[in-house]
Amino acid sequence: MNKRRPYVRPMDGWWRKNPYFVEYMIHEATALFVAAYAAVLLIGLLRLAQGEAAWTAWLATLQGGWAILFHLLALVAISYHTYTWFKIMPRTMPPVIVGGKKLAGWVITAGGLAAAAAASLALLALVWGMAR
């Protein structure tokens, strides 16, 4: 008679048990802000389609306290998303060989963050240029 009786441990609350997982859940949660921000833009787009008055009204709502607060939080969350996105990049990308040597992880992360900074500046410059 076989006396084996393997015990399977439950997974409940696993994400609370290790700081690494807590961090993971936080960066996953940034998706909520990405979604919400996309929704805000979508509403803006709909308002735009409805004509000038609707659009201006939408712009005005963006000036409300809650709207500002939301965008502040979204800014933090999505910036954090940017940071973590490039932080795991070395883990998700094929190795980059430069001069016979594998590029170190931090170089890739730094490169990604630099690209994000460049893209942001370009975007800002573009909008600024259009506005003038």
Partner: protein
């Protein structure tokens, strides 16, 4: 009891066992193979081998050189016809392993690279960074998965062989996960259970290296040959015994005493040169290096550490970059276990038991005197190591003789009919009762750990680097006493599932048998040769009386019976074993006299 009907049984999933299993599968895909191992194959101790595996590779090298290095290194106690076969097969086997995916280190143009190793005249050691055994074992294990005829019994602990009509008929194993017994029937069996280094206190071996297969064959009347020859490796971690591979010295490491002096030059291994020269100084053979350590210790020129005397292995001059590239694992071991950065500080080292040269007596085709029983790898004594193994010969041995054992076992299994199943089962049930008895014994009061520690200590005392009749006798007596006390061993754990307490007790019994064979073989060899060095009037090699193999025979309830067998000499007459400048001179003279 579960019954599995195989054709060929292989006990041991290390390098030798896996190579044998593949050989059977390739020789005859119709044969059913049972591969029984007490650990998952990739946990076998082959995994720990660091340095490399020998096979003639360079144009400047030759089979004769490899032959001579091996026979001289073995102090002429080798079976020379077997060595000839061996050196001729190494390169093909290593190449085969390359085809199976082994990540050998390469030269710039894509060929397999070779490095220097102790006692080897020309660089011929194939290596995969400093994880050679690891890569060989995983390559073999993963390749074995390709063959559907290999049925693995992982984590099955073999407790006995079944012999019927004077030939092998099966093995009995415990499924560790359930504690249930399995009878594996078969017409041929290969034992590939590895060495027995853990009968000693400080050793480089893994917990699984307990000589089980040696004891199994021994108890069934197969002699253990040359068991007194136990290799000390000169550069091990004090305390744990973990190994710093010889490759450290092959790459150019120095051994220094407490004055920072390369003391090996005082022991006929000089001259001391800044870069490694084959067969000289730090690249001398292991027995000589370990012996030199012992003398330095006697002279008070070693360094005292918390785990005894040490000397320094100095790698600093090689620089961090080279160390990280060529010896990455060594680098990490030193950093983590000792807190030493080898690029900045020397590593404290001392000799520890490393390898059992002797083992199950088999002929050049790996056949033991018991029909159908074969052995390969460290558990066997096929005759290539003699009185002292050269580093990097044993990994090649696993391949060459693992294959031979597999092919021979396949041939034998195809040539005979199975034994009568009823009597085989009856025997197996008797084995089950006996082995369960060890667990169920409630009267005992001896702790397993205590007996084990006493055994390991007495082996170190009596059968260490240098030996004296008096201490060896003490060891023999102590082992007799321990065997007596073993009858009262207490297995605390009475349960079935994963009862490692029980397995440790069984292993201890195997170890005591093997230790006895070693100690009695040692005390009876009244000469000094290779790894067996005496200081009690037998300091010289004695070819007149002892150019022969010791054979220890099991005697139930008593001391082993020792007798001797001849040594096969083909083309190398015993000469002086000299290294360093003296060795080169001796070789010149030998050449000159041959014209």
């Amino acid at each position: 009891m579960e019954i599995y009907k195989a054709d060929v049984i292989i006990v041991g999933g290390g390098g030798a066992g896996l190579r044998a299993a593949i050989a059977v599968a390739e020789a005859n895909p119709a044969l059913k193979i049972a591969l029984v191992s007490k650990v998952y194959p990739m946990r076998s101790h082959t995994v720990a081998a660091e340095g490399g595996s020998a096979g003639v590779k360079k144009a400047s090298d030759s089979l004769d050189y490899h032959f001579n290095d091996t026979v001289h290194g073995g102090d002429w106690l080798c079976e020379q016809d077997v060595v000839e076969y061996f050196v001729a097969r190494c390169t093909e086997e290593l190449t085969q392993l390359e085809h199976w995916g082994c990540p050998w280190s390469r030269t710039e143009d894509g060929h397999v690279n070779v490095r220097a190793f102790g006692g080897m005249k020309i660089e011929r050691t194939w290596f995969a960074a400093d994880k050679t055994g690891f890569h060989m074992l995983h390559t073999l294990f993963q390749t074995s998965i390709k063959y559907p005829s290999i049925k693995r019994f992982d984590e099955h602990f073999c407790v006995d062989l079944i012999v019927e009509d004077n030939r092998i008929a099966g093995v009995v194993a415990i499924e560790i996960a359930s504690g249930e017994f399995t009878l594996v029937e078969g017409r041929a069996a290969v034992i590939a259970t590895g060495g027995a280094g853990r009968v000693f206190r400080e050793n480089t071996n893994g917990g699984v290296v307990t000589g089980d297969g040696m004891a199994l064959a021994y108890r069934h009347g197969v002699p253990l040959r040359d068991m007194e020859f136990v290799q000390y490796h000169p550069t091990c971690m004090p305390g744990t015994g973990l190994l710093f591979t010889e490759a450290c010295r092959g790459e150019g490491g120095f051994l220094l005493n407490k004055d920072g002096y390369r003391y090996l030059q005082d022991y006929g291994l000089g001259p001391a040169e800044p870069t490694p020269r084959n067969k000289a100084m730090e690249l001398g053979p292991r027995d000589r290096l370990s012996q030199a350590f012992w003398y330095e210790q006697q002279k008070g020129r070693t360094i005292e550490g918390p785990h005894g005397s040490v000397v320094h292995l100095d790698l600093r001059h090689l620089g961090e970059e080279k160390l990280r590239e060529r010896l990455p694992q060594i680098y990490e071991l030193a950093e983590q276990f000792l807190g030493v950065d080898p690029a900045l500080a020397p590593i404290p080292v001392r000799p520890a038991v490393h390898y059992t040269m002797g083992g199950i007596l088999v002929d050049g085709r790996c056949a033991s005197p018991l029909a159908g029983l074969y052995a390969a790898g460290e558990c066997s004594s096929v005759g290539i190591h003699g009185a002292n193994r050269l580093g990097s010969n044993s990994l090649s041995e696993l391949l060459v003789f693992g294959r031979v054992a597999g092919e021979e076992a396949a041939r034998f299994a195809s040539s005979v009919a199975p034994a009568a199943p009823a009597s085989v089962l009856a025997q197996a049930q008797a084995v089950e009762q006996r082995v369960l008895g060890i667990r169920q014994n409630t009267r005992g009061n001896e702790r397993i750990a205590t007996l084990r520690k006493e055994m390991a200590q007495t082996m170190e005392d009596g059968c260490g680097i240098y030996r004296l009749a008096e201490t060896m006798q003490k060891t023999c007596d102590k082992l007799d006493e321990l065997k007596e006390r073993f009858k009262n061993v207490r297995v605390e754990d009475k349960s079935s599932v994963w009862n490692t307490d029980w397995l440790l007790a069984i292993e201890l019994e195997y170890q005591l048998d093997v230790a006895q064979a070693m100690a009695y073989s040692a005390i009876n060899r009244r000469e000094s040769r290779g790894a067996h060095q005496r200081l009690d009037g037998f300091e010289q090699r004695d070819d007149v009386n002892f150019l022969k193999h010791t054979q220890a025979h099991y005697v139930a309830g008593g001391a082993p019976r020792i007798d001797y067998g001849p040594v096969k000499i083909t083309k190398s007459q015993p000469g002086t074993r000299a290294y360093g400048a003296a060795g080169e001179k001796a070789e010149q003279e030998r050449k000159a006299s041959h014209g």
